[in-house]
Point group: C2
Amino acid sequence: MQGCSAEKREKDFTIMQEINKTEKIDLEKDKIDFEKEEFRIILNSRSQRVTSPRIKILKILKSNHKPLTIAEIHSKLSKDKIDLATVYRTLNLFSEIKIVNEIDFKDEFKRYELVYDRHHHHHIVCRKCKSVENVETCILDDLEKLLSKKGYSEITHSLEFFGICKNCSN
Amino acid sequence: MQGCSAEKREKDFTIMQEINKTEKIDLEKDKIDFEKEEFRIILNSRSQRVTSPRIKILKILKSNHKPLTIAEIHSKLSKDKIDLATVYRTLNLFSEIKIVNEIDFKDEFKRYELVYDRHHHHHIVCRKCKSVENVETCILDDLEKLLSKKGYSEITHSLEFFGICKNCSN
DNA sequence: TTTGTTGCAAATCATTTGCAGACGG
DNA sequence: CCGTCTGCAAATGATTTGCAACAAA
């Protein structure tokens, strides 16, 4: 293909057409390209392939500042025709490589939240409407006081620790 | 039935026979009868019927000082031929009336633990062997220090709050 | 070129449900 | 006796998996 300048020019032109089209539609082009590059680095650094479904799912997780269910992620991908099975496989992968946290809100669905770029935090979930707010502090007493000041009532919490026990360390 | 003394005596005798038989087989009779009475009170006070599957499941939860999965509970009932669906329905009921806590250990199974007679506590779970120890303290920093002194490593935790938000209170 | 990923369709498996008979109060 | 609970069998629905085509490195 080297030296095949006519073809190259035609290709460049096609690319420019593509970019112009994109610019008109998407005013946040620069931000999005930056994100893509960020995701590429994250995946590469963990020896994972950079694929279109993975980037799209990462974008969705990044732009939604609350934990999402598989169904929510999949429906946000509806125009991209990404298979449900791929969504499951991708989120299982992301959990394994620890760039995503799997959260249980005590309903029937698991939720996923991007964590590689965020500091440790928790959530307060409304038992009725399932709305979610982040909780940044980390001492329980202070927390519950804070939450009731914010207007929540009947607060309960669930806290579990996970680790490797003595036996398993050997 | 008043004044029907012959019948009453016969009935009492039958009961005594029953008790003697039980004593020979089960040396912990007193303890178990006490438990049954306790469970009866708990269920009655919440307007729930006292049935044999419910008592058996409560006994299992009471005697196992760690959260159990549905499958574990069901297998401990194997000799009693209690249906799996009944186990599910019973534990959902127990969760609703809040005598049992439903816990997520981030594997595929929900676990259930009796809570009406215990003070609030958490757990530390080994990620490999799934062994469970209770955690009684309740300040996170102290906790994690305590846990690593106990020999756990790579400790993480998961904490979520649940409550009713302002909007839903109206 | 090689290895890993995706889409599709089918399988799996935990959980729920309808119903008829059994049981508790 | 009335209303609820249980066992059974079938349905449901989220999640996983096998496989062939495809894409990334």
